[in-house]
């Protein structure tokens, strides 16, 4: 598979604090990378640096062999889309208007809504099953609905790479499964490359292809997701002991936080 994203020695410093130090990794087309790490590890910072939201970066990020610093924000938005952790501003837009606004990068000041736009819109709505509440106001949606709309809007940008910042953190188990299935579907059926920030170890181990583990802004580990669930690895990452069992239905290995404190005998 061909190389999509190449992050080389990325460092981010904001207000004299090193949020990320010399991070390097590569992402192939169609890959699904989960970024793990304790709170404050710089996971969200990494996504924001990729999306051009944080600009005070050092190092080279290239996408399809082109450096991101050579792209305008609009060009970037045709390559990478982003679903933030929480939508903080209460919005008085209808769902459909909000999703339509995501076609901004394909428009100039007074250009009309084109057939391509309409196709992208219908496709995004169809995949995310947001057609049931297209005319509701954004500020009346439940957490699960809002997250699907945010993903629909990002899809409407028709980018080869999608960044998701803890897309399921605030959702109940049912909606977590729903959103995870949606992301899987995007990756496998629609060939969208994905970088997801997550705290859900078992989801990351089972559904993603690769793992990037960050700790205090430093690269800790990168590897295949099937190698994630190992005692030392998780302990080094979270300062927490884990026990392992297998899922009663699928037989897959599942990690659970141990009752023991770190350093105690098992």
């Amino acid at each position: 598979m061909t190389l999509l994203l190449d992050v080389d020695n990325l460092s981010v410093t904001v207000a004299n604090k090193d949020l990320l130090s010399s991070i390097s990794f590569q992402l192939k087309k169609g890959d699904y990378l989960c970024v793990l790490g304790p709170n404050g590890a710089g996971k969200s910072t990494l996504l924001k640096a990729l999306m051009g939201i944080i600009k005070s970066t050092e190092g080279v990020i290239s996408l399809n062999k082109q450096s991101l610093s050579d792209l305008s924000q609009k060009q970037l938005a045709r390559q990478i889309s982003y679903v933030p952790q929480v939508q903080s501003q209460p919005l008085n837009f209808s769902v459909i208007d909000f999703i339509k606004m995501a076609r901004y990068a394909y428009h100039s000041a007074f250009s009309d809504w084109s057939a391509d736009d309409q196709q992208a819109l219908e496709h995004a709505i169809h995949i995310t099953s947001t057609d049931l509440f297209l005319h509701r106001q954004m500020n009346t949606l439940s957490g699960g609905e809002a997250q699907r709309v945010m993903i629909a809007a990002a899809l409407c940008q028709q980018t080869p790479l999608l960044l998701l910042d803890e897309p399921t953190s605030f959702l109940d188990p049912h909606h977590q499964v729903e959103v995870h299935q949606l992301i899987q579907n995007l990756n496998q059926q629609h060939n969208i490359s994905i970088i997801e920030v997550s705290h859900d170890l078992n989801h990351a181990a089972q559904h993603s292809q690769h793992i990037l583990a960050l700790k205090q802004g430093h690269h800790l580990w990168y590897g295949a997701s099937s190698d994630l669930l190992q005692t030392e690895r998780l302990q080094a990452l979270y300062q927490q002991q884990f026990v392992f069992t297998s899922h009663p239905q699928t037989g897959a290995v599942v990690a659970l936080p141990s009752e023991n404190k770190l350093g105690e005998a098992q």
């Binding site: 051009g52 939201i53 924000q73 609009k74």
Partner: protein, 320 residues
């Protein structure tokens, strides 16, 4: 109701107000004098009120969208005070210059406005984003600071200049003629054109900077352009007719209730409504104690104060 229908209704009402208001309070019977009053006094005044009101309303709308706060306007954030100080210093120093035929006072006010807005923006940015409280308190602090500097300027001035500053600080359209319209029009036209050009960006800015950036909006570039044109517009209006408060807060808010939050509709609606609104306020100011007049700024502030409180209480009770 569809936005286009609402906009047509607002446009027709505005035309009606434009047509009727010059005739109100016409007390002389002599047709020749009537004609003179209508064409030389009333008409320029109504047109001027329309342009100023439209400009103030649009600038208010832009501030509300950029700061994600219904209470953020050039007036509540101290930008108008900055402009006032610039204009007061211009009067005090006895400057009288023109730049490409435009009055230097407008440029002095523009610089004052730009200083104030840079100040508010850098403080709110330093304070980790735009917490509504920080933002408004910064605006209040800046307003006080500039107001005391204006008082100081006034104190230093001679009696004539001092009275001129005081009279103008009340916000008035009394002495307006066609030449004032020509002074104001270039600034407001530039600002209105820029804002109508950037309505899609304003929509995305409402969703927050992160979303706007991820959709491809060059947020900083857009924000600085908007600061620049709104400062020019507010500066010119303040220099020519004083700080007429609260239009920029009330009008966009009412329009949002009428036509929704989409700036492609909200901007033209605010423009028309703002123009018509200031004409109505000015007509009231002209008629209420006729034959004397009160400054129009008194009327808008009397309406705006309670409106501000209502918005404040409403936004608190919604937790937004």
């Amino acid at each position: 109701m569809k936005p286009v229908t609402t906009l047509i209704i607002i446009a027709l009402s505005t035309l009606l107000i434009l047509a009727v208001s010059p005739y109100l309070g016409l007390t002389v019977d002599d047709p020749a004098i009537q004609h003179h009053i209508l064409t030389q006094l009333r008409l320029p005044r109504v047109l001027f009120a329309f342009i100023a009101g439209a400009g103030l309303a649009l600038c208010g709308m832009v501030f509300q969208a950029m700061f994600h706060n219904p209470l953020a306007t050039p007036f509540t954030l101290g930008v108008a005070s900055g402009a006032s100080l610039g204009a007061a210093i211009y009067v005090y120093l006895g400057f009288s210059f023109t730049i490409v035929g435009l009055d230097g006072g407008a440029f002095a006010a523009f610089i004052g406005a730009l200083v104030a807005i840079s100040f508010v923006y850098s403080i709110s940015r330093y304070q980790n984003g735009f917490s509504p409280e920080t933002l408004l308190l910064t605006g209040v602090a800046i307003s006080f600071f500039f107001s005391s500097l204006i008082l100081f300027t006034q104190y230093l001035s001679n009696l004539t200049d001092s009275f001129q500053i005081l009279r103008w600080l009340m916000g008035s359209l009394t002495t307006v003629g066609y030449q004032d319209i020509m002074q104001l029009l270039p600034f407001v036209t530039l600002c209105v054109t820029a804002i109508l050009w950037l309505t899609r960006e304003l929509n995305l800015l409402m969703a927050g900077d992160d979303i706007a950036l991820s959709r491809g909006v060059s947020v900083d570039k857009i924000r600085y352009s908007l600061f620049f044109v709104t400062s020019l517009c507010v500066g010119a209006i303040v220099a020519l007719c004083g700080p007429i408060g609260f239009i920029g807060m009330m009008v966009p808010h009412i329009c949002r209730l009428l036509i929704g939050s989409d700036h492609r509709w909200l901007a033209p609606a605010s423009l028309l409504f703002g123009g018509a609104f200031l004409i109505v306020c000015d007509t009231i100011a002209r008629l209420i104690i006729a034959p004397a007049e009160i400054p129009v700024g008194v009327i808008t502030t009397l309406l705006g104060g309670p409106f501000f409180l209502w918005l404040l209480i409403k936004s608190k009770s919604q937790g937004a």
